[in-house]
């Protein structure tokens, strides 16, 4: 199963190259990658409910983390959706982008996302799943900000990354706690990270269970845009339309729902789980559906209806009865098909007319007959009209609600109300632009190219086909998927016509009423639109998006304030801040360190004393000198004398380095000498005293540190052992060098990186400031 993830991952970087070589018709060629994955998955059909195939490779066995992948009804269904829609979207992207040179990058990123998303749904290990989960967030960030030259795209991308990223952190914490709870309940570490091993164990008694559940749910909600974390998804519509169709309707936003479905057997035995999911889901379902009606941009309408559907799915998982799970299965698959189709149709409309504003669109049916037909089919599925797959989903949904003991009627009515708006919006998005006998926004509108017709047509036809013969789906996958979500065997027998039992009739009645109401809302759409939009604009000023803006703005202001306070361009202030920070951080630990009495007598000869005194004289002269040249010379003398001290205490490497540094400092100063500003003196005595105090404090702390280091009862064996091991283990007689390049080579690598970055930093600062002044820099 690993190869199914690896092949798209390898194909991703090749995509830009292929596009450059073969042009935009490369879409269908790249689509072969997901098609291959899809075929490999289809081999496992039909799936027997309650069975799965595992594949385990060790990754971090010490922590019980394995590359464990699982194929069961749930992961295969998702895998087929990801690969199937992925293939269609890659084909569509070629037509949508036209000859845009960025097509290669788009295809590459889409393939990378495809790999990550497959990883999420195949993973059986909680932490492997998390890694892929974060990868999808990163891919989404890159794709939302695809048109990165637009500030709006960058802002939206950052918002999505911060919201889903914060949710990802919550998820990670939740997964760690869940593993700890499992390990605390006596499950061996090897199995405590494995979803298949945790299912049905019943961990809810453990004290860590509740916090872990809340954190995991928060993570899933952020990804699947549940209230109040939904606001990033409509903003993500700045992405190119193929991205919106793929990530932000059909697959990535369903990762949260997937996680909830996947963990339902693990976490579902807790009452809190059901309450949280059902209530949040129901609220999201209703509010987002109403908010959709306040939009006029095709993609934003679709985004809000997506949020609403995600809420519905969350609610169904929360309800958790057999019927609810069946409804979730059907609804999820139906939605992925029709919503991806609708997004692609919205993209085609924009492609043909140059606008996505529904108020300006109309009468396109004659110019774009195929797109219009696919739009009609997809909209009917979204509206839940027979005989499409969406209809079966809606019937099941209503029946599942009516079946409940508590709140059943309330939830059913909520779902019905939300449905009214979804129906109206389905008509607004996919019927109105084609049928309405209005003037067309662009008179030269044309049918989309074949590459852009395939996706909507195939997906809309799939909705019709499965709606007519639903038995194909439930036999091949549906029952297996429902069983995987429920953690028990659930057999689905889907039918278009449920007969005449009372529940089915009630559901049918509600269905008919919602269809009628939805049509009525659609007819009143234009009149109601502006009023609703105004109301929601007012509401939006206090919504969670506003909280996000404030938090983000506050953080930026804080960063700016800190920067202004510390980085004012005066070297004197930088030096003072660094030294004071050193003093502040070291005083307390030093005061608690070894008592100084334990410093033994230091052996010293007259020549060492003489060198030390000379160095001191040099330092004092440097401070007192009134010309820059003499100050430089005096500091240089002090440095050289310290090098002599190193040599006297038999540290030749240190001495050589010190001499080199001193020499280079002098050379540098000579090179830039004539460019430095005039040597300035502090005017006030107070300022001089302040500097003296800072210097004295820093010097005292450094001296103290040296004394403490000498006094510390360092195990003498460390240096002895390094010296002993130097030749046999590292084949070197210079212990200093052996430590640098062998024993502690990783530290040296880090320091070398610092050296490199420092050089590049100087280069960047000088060249950038020169460019800012309008002079051309030499590359």
């Amino acid at each position: 199963m690993l190869w199914m993830i690896l092949i798209p991952l390898v194909a991703a970087p090749a995509a830009p190259w292929l596009v450059r070589r073969l042009g935009r018709h490369v879409g269908p060629l790249l689509a072969l990658v997901p098609i291959g994955v899809g075929l490999a998955l289809a081999i496992h059909l039909p799936m027997e409910p309650g069975t799965w195939r595992l594949e385990v490779l060790p990754w971090v066995p010490e922590l019980g983390i394995h590359l464990a992948f699982r194929l069961d009804g749930l992961s295969i269904t998702f895998g087929l959706l990801i690969s199937g829609i992925g293939a269609l979207v890659l084909t569509y992207a070629g037509g949508y982008m036209g000859d845009d040179p960025r097509l290669g990058r788009l295809c590459g990123l889409l393939l990378m996302f495809l790999a990550a998303m497959l990883g999420v749904v195949f993973s059986d290990d909680l932490f492997v799943l998390f890694v892929f989960w974060e990868l999808t967030s990163i891919a989404s960030w890159l794709l939302i900000g695809f048109k990165h030259e637009q500030a709006e795209a960058r802002d939206s991308a950052r918002m999505a990354l911060l919201v889903t990223g914060a949710g990802g952190l919550a998820l990670l914490a939740g997964l760690v706690l869940l593993t700890a709870a499992a390990a605390g309940s006596g499950i061996p570490l090897d199995r405590a990270t494995r979803i298949s091993a945790l299912a049905g164990v019943g961990l809810s008694g453990h004290p860590l269970f509740t916090p872990s559940l809340v954190l995991i749910v928060v993570g899933a909600f952020s990804k699947s845009a549940q209230m109040p974390l939904h606001f990033w998804l409509p903003r993500a519509m700045t992405a190119p339309t193929p991205v919106s169709a793929y990530l932000h309707s059909a697959t990535m936003v369903k990762a949260g729902v997937y996680l909830l479905a996947r963990l339902n057997p693990v976490l579902g035995d807790s009452g809190l789980w059901h309450v949280l999911l059902t209530l949040t889901g129901a609220a999201t379902m209703l509010v987002a559906a109403v908010m959709a009606a306040g939009q006029s941009d095709l993609k934003r309408i679709l985004a809000y209806t997506t949020v609403s559907v995600l809420g519905t799915l969350t609610m169904l998982i929360g309800v958790g009865t057999d019927l609810a799970i069946k409804a979730a299965v059907v609804y999820l698959v139906a939605h992925a098909c029709y919503k991806a189709a609708l997004f692609m149709i919205a993209g085609s409309i924009e492609h043909a007319t140059g606008t996505r504003d529904v108020r300006r669109l109309g009468g396109l049916g004659r110019a774009m007959p195929v797109t219009a037909a696919s739009g009609l089919l997809a909209a009917l599925s979204m509206a839940g009209a027979p005989p499409l797959f969406g209809f079966i989903g809606k019937e099941l949904l209503l029946k599942a609600k009516l079946d409940l003991e508590y709140l059943g009627v309330v939830l059913a009515l909520t779902a019905g109300l939300a449905n009214v708006f979804l129906i109206a919006m389905a008509l607004v998005v996919a019927v109105r632009p084609f049928l309405a006998s209005r003037t067309v926004a662009a008179p030269d509108a044309h049918e989309a190219p074949p590459a852009m017709l395939a996706g909507p047509l195939v997906l809309a036809a799939a909705g019709l086909f499965v709606g007519l013969v639903p038995g194909v789906f439930d036999a091949a996958l549906g029952s297996a998927m429902a069983s995987a979500i429920g953690g028990r065997t659930i057999i689905m027998k889907l039918k278009l016509w449920h007969g005449l039992d009372p529940a089915a009739l009630t559901a049918l009645l509600i269905s008919a009423v919602t269809l009628a109401l939805g049509f009525a809302v659609f007819l009143r759409f234009r009149a109601g639109l502006s009023r609703l939009a105004g109301r929601f604009a007012r509401l939006g000023r206090h919504g969670p998006a506003r909280a996000y803006e404030r938090l983000y703005g506050g953080l930026m202001d804080l960063a700016a304030a800190v920067t202004r306070a510390t980085q004012n361009g005066s070297l004197r202030r930088y030096t003072r801040l660094v030294l004071l920070a050193l003093v502040a951080t070291c005083v307390y630990p030093l005061s608690r360190a070894v008592p100084l009495e334990s410093v033994g007598p230091v052996e010293w000869g007259w020549h060492e004393a003489a060198v030390a005194i000379l160095a001191l004289v040099g330092a004092v002269t440097a401070v007192l000198s009134r010309s820059r040249l003499s100050a430089i010379a005096m500091v240089g003398i002090t440095g050289i004398l310290i090098a002599v001290l190193f040599a006297l205490f038999s540290a030749p490497d240190l001495a050589i380095t010190q001499i080199m540094v001193e020499a280079l400092t002098v050379i540098l100063l000579v090179l830039i000498f004539h460019r430095l500003p005039a040597f300035s003196h502090l005017r006030t005595t107070a300022a001089r005293l302040g500097d003296a105090a800072t210097a004295a404090a820093a010097g005292a702390v450094m001296s103290l540190m040296v004394l403490v280091a000498v006094a510390a009862p360092l195990p003498a064996t460390v240096s002895a052992q390094m010296a002993r091991l130097s030749v046999p283990q590292a084949k070197g007689r210079n212990v200093v060098n052996v430590i640098l390049v062998d024993f502690r080579a990783l530290d040296t690598l880090g320091e070398t990186t610092v050296v490199a970055v420092a050089g590049l930093g100087v280069y960047a600062l000088v060249k950038l400031s020169r460019r800012a002044r309008g002079e051309g820099g030499k590359p």
Binding site: D653, L668, I672, V736, N737, V741, L746, T752, G759, L760
Partner: protein, 135 residues
Amino acid sequence: MNSPVFQATTRVITPLLLSFSLFMLLRGHDQPGGGFIGGLLAVTAFALYALAFDARSARRLLGVSPRLLTAVGLSLAAVSGVPALWWGEPFMRGLWLPLALPSELKLGTVLLFDVGVYLTVLGSVLLTLLTLSEE
């Protein structure tokens, strides 16, 4: 600086300094020296040249951009830790070729690492010096 004496001396000293820096680099494993010291020594050679002539001549003498040198050096240092992984050893574990050279020099990944440090220090410090002096 336009001093014929200084320039003539520099022409002689620069190759000597560069050879000495290589010597320090190669002997570092057994005697005082090593990549860092060797790199600094090489910088002084080029810095001296820049003083005697000008920064542009020093760049010409170097032949490649100091930034490229930094990048190559850092990559070399990082890559030298990888071969150990092939034998299941931890990253950066030193590996030696079983070759007896007619000197004290031993060939191995550790030497590669030190060469990387040498190049990084040379590239980065020289980049600083030349950038500032050309400003």
